[in-house]
């Protein structure tokens, strides 16, 4: 599996706190039995409301691979369709002040690192991308730093997720299944399994 240590690319600033997964992908697009095509629907209602002024519609951010957000991004519904839509649009990593728990876990499971930084650093990166959309952003999971043009700052990620990316074990399924004997042993100790 792919190790993910560093992500480099241009970025797309999306300001605002508490952006929920209903906004990232409205529920009507969840009527599907595959994740195909979700990339085009990302932020559908927010984009329609802003009539081309949403960062995801602005030409200067086309091709960006790093999404830069603020506080509690991805709150609400557990729908993996949200990170899937973001990933299928072309995003490879997200930098923000904080992330909702389930959204973060879903991103780990599909290989999209979500890194946090202080409000100050996030604000600087967003400002840099606003001023110059060609600014190259690098997120380094090993050194836990972000560089953007001439700027730099500290980033972090919960250690379990970070190690999973560095070791290339973020898709946990194979590892989990391989421990079948230990799983059965644990199940055998739980009284309710026998009821």
């Amino acid at each position: 599996m792919t190790q993910i240590e560093q992500i480099t690319g241009t970025g797309i600033p999306l300001t605002g706190n508490d952006i929920d997964t209903d906004r990232i992908i409205p529920a009507r697009f969840l009527k599907c039995i595959t994740f195909d095509g979700l990339g085009e629907q990302v932020f559908a209602d927010d984009r329609a409301a802003l009539e081309g002024r949403h960062p995801f519609d602005q030409p200067q951010y086309r091709g960006a691979t790093i999404l830069v957000v603020n506080r509690n991004f991805g709150c609400g519904s557990s729908r993996e369709h949200a990170p899937q839509a973001i990933a299928r649009w072309g995003i490879k990593a997200v930098l923000g002040e904080s992330f909702a728990e389930i959204f973060f876990g879903n991103c780990v499971a599909i290989g999209i690192p979500c890194l946090t930084a202080s409000a100050e650093v996030v604000g600087q990166v967003q400002a840099a991308l606003d001023t110059d959309p060609t600014t190259v952003v690098t997120l380094d999971l090993a050194t836990q730093t972000v560089t953007f043009g001439a700027g730099a700052g500290a980033v972090s990620m919960p250690e379990g997720g970070r190690q999973a990316f560095l070791a290339g074990t973020w898709d946990a399924c194979g590892q989990l299944v391989a421990n079948a004997d230990a799983i059965r042993a644990t199940a055998a100790t739980l009284p309710y399994v026998a009821w």
Binding site: R79, G105, A172, I183
Partner: protein, 470 residues
């Protein structure tokens, strides 16, 4: 780090091992599956040539997409029909118990598992739905997961997770008349914030919580996630055991006694250590209504809307956004706000006690002209029980529509949707922009009794004016 809490004990008992990343491999005692977040997971299991490891610990139903008017198959919506067929086929292929429409036991996944006794203290429970936190009401550790994690649970009955911290959220004293579990949780979220619980499990405790029925505790734990806490729970007690005893999947006979003894050992120790404690006084809680675009933007019914510059800096931009979207003005009261649609139902407030409380308000009265008001029972069993008690008659006589079980307008993945700028009084759990099916639709969250009162008045009102005085 927490120590001696129910969360710690259940976590340790379900730990299979530590993964190289440092994450815990956690056994999942009950996996609940529904039609929206599972088809891709089953596809991944097939692609990887895996099997479902514990089909007997997996239970499925349909709730999100089902129409609540006509449930005749095939559904009018071909995409919804395709999802129904996919789940039916996946359950057949893997030997998974499936409560389909008409089985008598279908309903919202977080309503049917408790009512059948599938949800039990001390279990770990996962489901591809954020409101899985509901099941914590029984002293289970229950949380929502995404589709790739649904795949992991199907294939291994385990998840790779980091351990949460534990915050004890105490509510002490007696709730005032007209104040319900919904008001308690809206109040807590308002005070602790929608991200206040990120990284935490919430242990709800204190005399006001201990006095709550199981269904009230479910309402409370259901919305832990709206406060950012991936799971919320209440320590199991006699109220829990009385609710469970005799239900379909509850242990019977000797196993029941053994179960109660085991469950009692799981309660948080008297000297348990918490990462944080928050304390509330029940007497401070009034009927609460949200006015904005997150569940944390709420006020007591007698308060007026905040001035953005009176809020903490980090909340001001969101408040401005909310005022613009909702078309409200700082300083105004919500009382008297005209309503278009009244929705009673959802995994938060679609249980029999919710319908009983709403019916008490509605009894002998009439829905205001021009209001669309409808009641959606949380499950086929809730519907049947309500009809046996004549509640459907109370609602329909007043002008409410009486529907079939499903998620309905909570998330509007079915024909129940707001239109345009309509504003709803809703007993559901999310007031996000566009949540109820219209990109410009507006949602006011409140208790089912408050929704009922709003339907009668045609506007937001104080339910206490509609309750019998003693």
């Amino acid at each position: 780090m927490s120590k001696g809490t129910l969360f710690d004990k259940v976590w340790d008992l379900h730990t299979v091992g530590t993964l190289p990343s440092g994450q815990t491999q956690l056994f999942i005692g009950l996996h609940l599956v529904h039609e929206v977040t599972s088809p891709q997971a089953f596809a991944m299991v097939r692609e990887r040539q895996l099997t479902v490891m514990y089909p007997q610990r997996t239970v499925a139903t349909v709730d999100h997409i089902v129409p609540t008017e006509s449930q005749a198959r095939p559904f009018a919506d071909p995409l919804a029909e395709a999802m129904m067929q996919a789940l039916d086929q996946n359950c057949q292929d893997h030997g998974i118990r499936f409560y389909n429409i008409g089985s008598g036991s279908q309903g919202i996944v977080h309503v049917i598992a408790p009512e059948q006794g599938l949800t039990q203290p001390g279990m770990t429970i996962a489901c591809g739905d954020s409101h899985t936190s509901t099941h914590g009401a029984f002293g289970a550790i229950a949380f929502g997961i995404g589709t790739s994690q649904v795949r992991d649970v199907l294939a291994s009955q385990t998840l790779a997770l980091g351990k949460l911290k534990v915050r004890r959220v105490e509510v002490n004293g007696d709730l005032l008349p007209g104040v319900y579990a919904k008001d308690v949780v809206l109040h807590i979220i308002r005070k602790l914030g929608v991200k206040g619980g990120v990284g935490y499990a919430y242990e709800f405790a204190g005399s006001a919580i201990e006095a709550m029925s199981m269904e009230e505790r479910m309402t409370l734990c259901n919305m832990a996630i709206e406060g950012g806490a991936r799971c919320g729970y209440v320590n199991p007690d006699q109220i829990t055991y009385d609710y469970l005893n005799g239900r379909d999947f509850a242990p019977k006979g000797e196993a029941w006694d053994e179960a109660v003894s085991w469950w009692n050992t799981l309660r948080s120790d008297a000297n348990a250590e918490y990462d944080d404690v928050a304390v509330f006084d029940a007497a401070d809680i009034a009927p609460t209504v949200t006015w904005g675009i997150t569940p944390g933007q709420g006020i007591a019914i007698n308060e007026t809307l905040p001035w953005p510059d009176s809020l903490p800096d980090e909340e001001q931009v969101l408040a401005q956004d909310a005022f613009a979207y909702m078309d409200f003005t700082p300083g105004q009261s919500l009382k008297g706000t005209a309503i278009d649609v009244c929705f009673i139902g959802s995994c938060t407030n679609g249980r029999i006690s919710d319908l009983r409380e709403a019916a008490k308000v509605v009894q002998g009265r009439t829905v205001a002209e021009g209001i669309k008001a409808f009641v959606v029972p949380g499950s086929e069993r809730v519907k049947q029980q309500a009809e046996a008690e004549g509640l459907d008659q109370v609602f329909t006589a007043a002008g409410f529509e009486w529907r079939e079980a499903g998620c309905s307008m909570c998330l509007a993945m079915n024909p129940d949707k707001l239109q345009g700028r309509q504003i709803s009084a809703s007993s559901s759990n999310r007031n996000f922009k566009g949540r109820q099916g219209s990109a410009s639709g507006r949602t006011l969250l409140m208790s089912p009794a408050m929704v009922a009162a709003a339907a009668l008045a045609g506007q937001v009102t104080d339910v206490r004016d509609y309750l019998p005085t003693h």
